[in-house]
């Protein structure tokens, strides 16, 4: 038996025994004391560098620990930071190339947000953040398409920058057009880097559509058709604000080229009550139980525990009044309201108590 085989066979049982003998938690504690970026099980990263990119936009260079399994250009990660004692996650696209020695996320500061202001104000080199493995299907196909269009607005440029840097690193910038929309006052994220690549690679053409007034350098179909007459023939990667994505989508639909358009959306708020609805109206919300795969339409005024039991779900529960935490479960996504405090929970992956939570949107639970 060679070493690898030996490890594969014994790693699991040894780890289980170490956990049951409470040795594991000792080891994890001392590791946390002396090497906080390392962890026996958590994927974490150390902030190595913070760079200003444009107004309210910073790039954070991260060094992940041994649990990192790499990524494809265009993918995103969930970054977890502890704010006021609460672990809070937000999803960010990676802006570095997979071959770069460090990971980079480029973050626009969202007013009223939690994670992006924290990163902008608090994150310093040496800080440790949590990471998720990279996910997302907004990636280059293989083999590479001969002609590419990268179309972005605002901070939607981050996954496209990763793709472009990847192409550059692979010597594969053969025929790429990047059209970016931004407000003139905000400046163009990655402008220097983009121009440096364009100077090196004759296969890259850049176009910046900047607007002075409102809107994110409004998307203009006619202008785009002028800039990129063969847009419908190009494999197109689109990422930007909701309005831009919608208008570009319509343009590609009209041109009959929707199959060549890959889209990555971000920052869409979970839908709350439909507009114009009276507060006394009852609505049905779809509750999806992620593990069992079942879905139920439940009343948004009643607590989730009663409602799910009405559909025959057998759930762990106890006091049914919000004290014993037996029914606590992880909410994957969606908005719920705490019936005792009236507070809403809208973040992904928050713990909720079913017996005192009423759904305010469609909700996915880890049950």
């Amino acid at each position: 038996m060679d070493r690898r085989e030996f490890m594969a066979r014994w790693k699991g049982p040894v780890e289980t025994a170490a956990r049951r003998l409470l040795v594991y938690r000792q080891a994890d504690y001392w590791l946390g004391e002396f090497a906080p970026a390392r962890s026996l099980e958590e994927l974490r990263a150390e902030v190595v560098r913070v760079d200003n990119e444009a107004r309210d936009v910073k790039t954070f260079a991260l060094r992940p620990n041994a649990h990192w399994r790499g990524f494809s250009a265009g993918q995103h990660v969930s970054v977890e930071v502890e704010i006021g004692g609460v672990r809070t996650q937000r999803v960010f696209s990676l802006s570095s190339a997979p071959s770069d020695p460090l990971l980079a996320i480029t973050v626009k500061r969202m007013p009223g947000g939690r994670v992006s202001p924290w990163l902008h104000e608090q994150a310093r080199p040496g800080h440790i953040v949590g990471l998720s493995p990279a996910t997302g299907r907004f990636v280059l196909p293989s083999p590479l398409p001969p002609k590419l269009l990268l179309l972005s607005g605002g901070s939607g440029i981050t996954p496209l920058m990763s793709i472009l840097r990847d192409l550059d690193a692979r010597d594969a910038v053969s025929d790429v057009v990047l059209v970016h929309h931004a407000r003139a006052g905000d400046g163009v994220i990655f402008r220097d880097d983009l121009e440096a690549i364009a100077a090196r690679r004759t296969g890259l053409r850049l176009a910046f559509c900047l607007s002075d007034g409102d809107g994110h350098g409004r998307f203009d179909g006619a202008r785009l058709a002028e800039l990129v007459p063969d847009f419908a023939e190009r494999a197109t990667f689109l990422c930007g604000p909701h309005g831009l994505m919608e208008r570009a989508g319509q343009m590609w639909t009209r041109a009959g080229a929707l199959s060549g358009l890959r889209r990555e959306s971000f920052g869409l708020p979970a839908s709350a009550r439909p507009p114009g609805a009276d507060a006394s109206d009852r609505y049905e919300r779809r509750i999806h139980l992620g593990r069992s795969g079942r879905s139920h339409l439940v009343d948004d005024k009643a607590n989730l525990l009663d409602e799910l039991e009405r559909f025959g779900e057998r759930l762990a529960s106890g006091c049914r009044m919000g004290i014993c935490q037996t029914c606590t479960c992880r909410k994957r996504r969606g908005v719920v309201r705490d019936l005792t405090t009236g507070k809403t929970s809208s973040d992904r992956d928050e713990e909720i108590q079913l017996c005192i939570s009423a759904p305010q949107s469609d909700v996915e639970l880890d049950l």
Partner: protein, 396 residues
């Protein structure tokens, strides 16, 4: 929300007042009207809301600090036991290991398993993932302690924590000749308390009474057997084995540490609901109970221990049993700062607030267990009347 510094430090009531409280539990608790109970509930809900809103980095820092003490003290204790040869290092090592177990069970385990830190999203502080250094499986504990005991607190026949089924801890429990042996049984339970806690969820009495077949017990005991097996393997197999020639010393040290923790946990936990002045309830008294009435029952059914910060942390803040029973899922380190406000609310609503020093409370528990080993609710003249106002108490 920011509480004033005085409140945050847990402003202590005047000593004079404390003495008087300890000597007599005051007038029998006033029965609240439905409206009063609702108002009491609203005030406590508001207090809860304020604390919940204020939760933050301070609370996480506290529990992580205690986790740090527990881990370090375990490491130090094991080191001393493993490498030392002299009796002094044996005593120090066992003590340090016992301390780590006390912190692990009381301030960390009990409180984290209540879900007090679930809001942090930290897997290490997750009530559904935590494992602890005791023979009781966390999942069993979360059921019978968090749900049964905290929901049906002090209801005879429903709260199996009343005398842990086999002890007669209040005069309302019917006397049985076997209770004559209660002093010995209680001492045995104290010495091996972790086994009492571990086996509590097995409902042995159901099988002994013949209500359930043995196979039901075998099924139910599986998590306990697994957890207890690993604990025994850890304390008396694994660690002695890696100590090589020091194996007997390490096994003995682990036994001493376990016993020290057992005695301490027993003393603290018995002071929670068994001292004089704590009320028990009959099932028909609590039918259709409102949230406000539930709060009132938690207050009347619990007793506090007075002391300093060290006592509070070592007891897992069960020294604030009343506050704990009102808000079992609020981080326990907040209880000292809300205690004066709870006490003030109790005074205004004419509700009891049973509190005294550890010595007095535990003395009262011991006296009670001894007295109740004999039939009848006979009370010595020195002890105040038990504050039970049940129509059925005469038949007990």
């Amino acid at each position: 929300m920011h509480l004033s510094t005085a409140v945050r430090r847990g402003a202590r009531p005047l000593k004079v007042f404390r003495r008087r409280q300890a000597a007599s539990p005051g007038p029998a608790p006033r029965e609240l009207s439905a409206r009063e109970a609702e108002a009491l509930g609203d005030e406590l809900d508001e207090l809860r809301r304020q604390i919940t809103e204020d939760l933050g980095a301070r609370d996480v820092d506290h529990i992580r600090r205690v986790i740090g003490w527990s881990r370090r003290s375990e490491a130090a204790g094991r080191f001393l036991l493993h490498v030392g040869l002299d009796p002094l290092s044996f005593a120090a090592g066992s003590g340090a290991l016992g301390l780590s177990k006390i912190l692990d069970n009381m301030e960390i385990g009990h409180n984290v398993l209540h879900g007090q830190y679930d809001w942090t999203g930290d897997p290490e502080l997750d009530s559904r993932r935590l494992d602890w250094d005791i023979t009781c499986p966390p999942e069993d504990w979360r059921y019978w302690h968090n749900y049964e005991h905290h929901t049906f607190t002090n209801i005879l026949g429903k709260d199996r924590d009343v005398g842990y089924v086999f002890l007669r801890a209040c005069p309302e429990q019917p006397w049985h000749p076997a209770h004559v042996l209660q002093p010995v049984a209680a001492l045995g339970l104290a010495l091996f308390f972790q086994w009492g806690i571990g086996a509590h969820g097995l409902r042995l009495e159901e099988v002994l009474k013949g209500n359930e077949p043995l196979s039901a017990l075998r099924e139910r005991a599986r998590p306990f057997v697994r957890k207890a097996g690993w604990q025994v393997l850890k304390d008396y197999g694994f660690y002695p084995a890696i100590a090589l020639w020091n194996a007997p010393r390490v096994a003995a040290g682990n036994f001493v540490a376990n016993t020290a923790r057992n005695l301490w946990a027993y003393a603290i936990i018995f002071c929670g609901h068994f001292p004089e002045g704590v009320r028990v309830y009959h099932e028909d008294e609590v039918r259709g109970e409102t949230r406000g009435q539930w709060y009132a029952r938690q207050i009347a059914g619990s007793a506090n221990i007075e002391g300093g910060r060290v006592l509070h942390v070592l007891s897992g803040h069960l020294s604030h049993q009343i506050e704990h029973h009102l808000f079992p899922d609020i981080p326990a380190s907040r209880y000292p700062e809300i205690a004066p406000r709870v006490r003030e609310i109790c005074a205004r609503y004419g509700q009891p607030y049973c509190t005294s020093s550890l010595g007095r409370q535990f003395g009262s528990v011991v006296a009670r267990l001894l007295r109740l080993s004999l039939p009848g609710p006979r009370r010595s003249s020195k002890q105040p009347a038990s504050a039970v106002s049940s129509p059925r108490s005469a038949t007990a």
